[in-house]
């Protein structure tokens, strides 16, 4: 169910953005927004199917503790 | 055109959003909690007593129409539940109460004596943590069981919790018990040196023939060490405590009349303030408590003309002596117990920040050994509508 909702959501966004850009032949815009959308999709899809996405805060915390101590 | 259609669709969709969301609470699905009583049973379980409002009854029987629809019905419903913790007990209440309990209108929290002796902080954690309970609710300690206090009815008020709330506010008139909200209590519980105190409530028997057998009455101050109840101050000592803290708002001071020792004179406290000055010489701690008070001649039962400079002066001195006596009664008891109710520790922190960490470590002993000077400056300003009593003796 959740997977379906996420797929639907991202499909809607893609359908809303891509045709206009294709028509105007704005290729750089199209590539950038597709890449961003792909990142967003990966992040949300992984969460929806139950994969533990690593928390970036933990990495930053580790780095800073390493540098300050 | 496309745009316009989109806007129309959005407008049509709006009402569905406006109806509310997950956490909506309709009045007809709620039971409004007015007072909470917390007791501890022998096996360590929490016994929770909730006073729930019955709105229909209140509407039916209040105001001019009295004796109408809901004449005989009670306007509150008292529910008692048991649980491992307070929250657990609250949720267990749903096995008896069909509606969801709403705590945001809660006026009073009463804690039983047994529970208070075991420590009040764990019992109040929920009240502080949960966003539904108010920090401005009044807190009392029951002599005996909190359940009895919550269950007790009141002659005047349809909702007994309202009566308890008014009792808390009425302490201003006598200053013989403190007025403490959950917020005040949180502030004093967090302190490392000073200890909290709360007003007490007890049930007293009423004369035969009245409809309500027992009545709730204010009785002095419950005193805590950290969060555990250790003892009680009576009315006089409670006012002594409030004098030092500068929290006396009003009250009556009864003194013996000059020139007629057996007759009494009542002086009304109009305003009072206090100043605590901590001193430290060679590691010896001395605290000076200065209390300034202003009063009126409220009533005299003697026939002496008191409005002469000499007698007025004598009255002021007697008044100061009574205040002094009240303060030292409270101080003696507190020092005997080693409980800093007067925020002396805080005052030392403010004046001697460098030495304070050392003092804090062993504050209980330090507090017991503080030498205290009491200075009372009591004035009388007004005499009321009459100067001499109507049946004044001729001189």
């Amino acid at each position: 169910m959740k997977v379906f909702v996420v797929l639907l959501l991202f499909a809607t966004i893609a359908l809303y953005e891509i045709p206009g850009l294709m028509r105007k032949k704005e290729w750089p815009e199209l590539i950038t927004s597709s890449v961003l959308l792909a990142i967003g999709f990966t992040l949300s899809f992984l969460q929806v199917i139950g994969v533990d996405v690593p928390n970036p805060n933990k990495g930053i915390e580790y780095l800073i503790k390493l540098l300050t101590s | 055109m496309k745009r316009r259609i989109l806007i129309y669709i959005l407008c049509l969709a709006l009402p569905f959003v406006l109806t509310g969301c997950w956490n909506r609470k309709e009045l007809s699905t709620l039971s409004v909690v007015q007072a909470i009583g917390i007791d501890k049973l022998e096996d360590g379980q929490i016994n929770l007593t909730l006073q729930l409002l019955k709105p229909a009854e209140i509407k039916g029987s209040s105001g001019m129409k009295g004796g109408g629809t809901g004449g005989g019905g009670k306007s509150v419903w008292v529910v008692t539940v048991t649980g491992q913790t307070v929250f657990d007990a609250i949720r267990s209440a749903t096995h008896q109460v069909d509606r969801r309990s709403l705590f945001s209108q809660n006026k009073v929290i009463v804690i039983g004596e047994v529970a208070a002796k075991a420590g009040i902080a764990p019992l109040l954690d929920l009240a502080i943590r949960d966003s539904e309970l108010r920090e401005l609710a009044y807190i009392f300690i029951a002599k005996g069981k909190a359940q009895d206090i919550i269950e007790a009815e009141n002659e005047q008020e349809k909702v007994p919790a309202k009566a308890l709330e008014n009792l808390a506010k009425a302490t201003r008139v006598t200053s013989k018990a403190p007025e403490i909200t959950l917020f005040d209590l949180m502030k004093s519980l967090v302190s490392r040196t000073s200890s909290p105190f709360l007003p007490g409530l007890e049930l007293v028997d009423r004369p035969e023939g009245t409809t309500i057998k027992k009545q709730v009455e204010l009785c002095g101050t419950a005193v805590f060490k950290r969060d555990k109840l250790v003892g009680w101050l009576d009315g006089k000592e409670s006012r002594g405590l409030l004098w030092v803290l500068g929290k006396v708002k009003s009250g009556i001071i009864v003194v013996e009349s000059p020139d007629a020792e057996t007759k009494k004179v009542a002086l009304e406290i109009i305003r009072a303030s206090s100043k605590v000055t901590p001193e430290m010489t060679d590691g010896k701690l001395t605290v000076t408590v200065e209390v300034k008070e202003e009063g009126n001649l409220g009533e005299q039962m003697s026939q002496v003309d008191l409005t002469k400079p000499v007698t007025f002066k004598a009255l002021e001195e007697k008044q100061a002596a009574v205040i002094n006596d009240e303060i030292s009664a409270a101080l003696d008891k507190a020092q005997e117990w080693g409980i800093d109710l007067f925020k002396f520790g805080v005052e030392y922190h403010r004046k001697f920040p460098a030495e304070y960490p050392e003092l804090e470590k062993n504050w209980e002993e330090e507090f017991k050994n503080i030498a205290i000077n009491i200075e009372v400056d009591a004035k009388l300003s007004r005499v009321g509508l009459s100067t001499t009593p109507v049946n004044a003796e001729e001189e």
Partner: protein, 366 residues
């Protein structure tokens, strides 16, 4: 030109003000920052001067490159590769900040008002509204903040005035118990939270009058310092520092304490309303910084197609960050968060400024 809009210096100050103050009216983390005693109000006085120092590199960089945003002049200073490194770092930083912001938003809501509502609902709603504002560009953001900032100021000052009668200024003593140095260090904490300093490096070129930048540079810290001081002093004077430290939302807790007579109480809804308004501006501002950066970095003609895709990243990232409130608090604490943000708002700009000076790039400032 990607952004054709211009905003006035007042709008710029207010934009930063709203975006910053809104975090403080919920968390007020300065209370928790190291010596953490009754002296925090002195730390708040320290904040404005420290802010001026920290924002200096950004200001000087603007003097050298008055027509360019941070993303653009990093190319002029360090070349193509440098621009990519700096650009990606900052875009990550703003995405991270926006996501953090959204998790805070949903945390506040689920704690205070609607504990049963899924937090994703709040996050998505706010993101959509902010996306619309960001879509409309900097001019709309400026006007919005000019409209909303007075509402926030009046609400905050009104609440504080209602509470004055309950305050005990003795709670602020003893003064400087642990000396002045911890206070200066703690003064760094609210400044380090002011991510908007680097946000200004990006919106400075959009001011309508270049001469007024100096005013933005000077008045922003003063206004923020003043309000931080008012907030902190009222929290400490009402609660005392010990209690304030143990509360999740100190300022919200004191708003709950407002009671005037028997008729004016329970006005915390005002706090919530103000919080939503401010959060909207803040999220939209961060949002705008991200999409503008992306567009400038990839040399796009327009940033608008990037808005929704970026939104999906922010929302899903905020969901990752907000999973555990305890971990989130650990990250926002003084020891971690301060150094993380200082790296971006002070270290990188200083490095850029140094390189620009050595390589003699940009206009000579007179």
């Amino acid at each position: 030109m990607i952004e054709g809009g211009k905003i006035s210096y007042k709008q710029m100050i207010l934009l930063v003000f709203v975006s910053r103050i809104i975090g403080w009216i919920a968390f007020l983390p300065v209370i928790l920052a190291s010596p953490a005693n009754q002296d925090v109000w002195i730390d708040c006085l320290m904040a404005a001067p420290i802010h001026l120092i920290v924002a200096l590199p950004v200001y000087l960089l603007f003097k050298k490159f008055p027509n360019q945003t941070l993303y653009e002049y990093s190319q002029a200073i360090t070349g193509k590769i440098g621009q990519w490194v700096v650009g990606i770092l900052y875009i990550w930083f703003f995405i991270h900040m926006a996501a953090l912001n959204l998790s805070n938003f949903s945390e506040f809501f689920t704690t205070i008002i609607m504990p049963e509502t899924p937090s994703l609902f709040f996050v998505i709603t706010l993101t959509l509204v902010s996306a619309y504002a960001a879509h409309k560009g900097i001019e709309v953001l400026g006007r919005l903040s000019e409209f909303i900032a007075p509402i926030i100021m009046i609400a905050l000052i009104g609440v504080v005035l209602l509470l004055v009668k309950d305050m005990d200024l003795k709670e602020l003593t003893p003064i400087l118990e642990k000396g002045i140095y911890p206070s200066i260090l703690t003064g760094l904490s609210p400044v380090a939270q002011t991510v908007e300093i680097i946000g200004l490096a990006i919106i400075f070129p959009f001011i309508n009058d270049r001469q007024k930048i100096k005013k933005v540079y000077i008045f922003t810290p003063l206004l923020l310092g003043l309000f931080l001081f008012i907030l902190t002093i009222s929290v400490i004077a009402l609660l005392g520092d010990d209690l304030a430290k143990s509360l999740t939302y100190p300022f919200y807790s004191i708003v709950r304490l407002v009671h005037v007579g028997n008729f004016l109480e329970r006005i915390e809804a005002i706090h919530v309303a103000v919080w939503i308004l401010g959060m909207f501006i803040k999220t939209a501002f961060y949002y705008y910084l991200i999409v503008l950066g992306l567009a400038q970095l990839f040399h796009l003609k327009d940033y608008k197609p990037l808005i929704l895709p970026t939104g999906t990243i922010i929302v899903s990232l905020s969901n990752v960050l907000g999973q555990s409130i305890v971990e989130l608090r650990e990250f926002i604490s003084f020891n971690i968060y301060t150094w993380y943000t200082l790296f971006f708002i002070l270290f990188i700009p200083s490095l850029l400024l140094l390189t620009a000076t050595i390589r003699k790039k940009g206009e000579r400032s007179r």
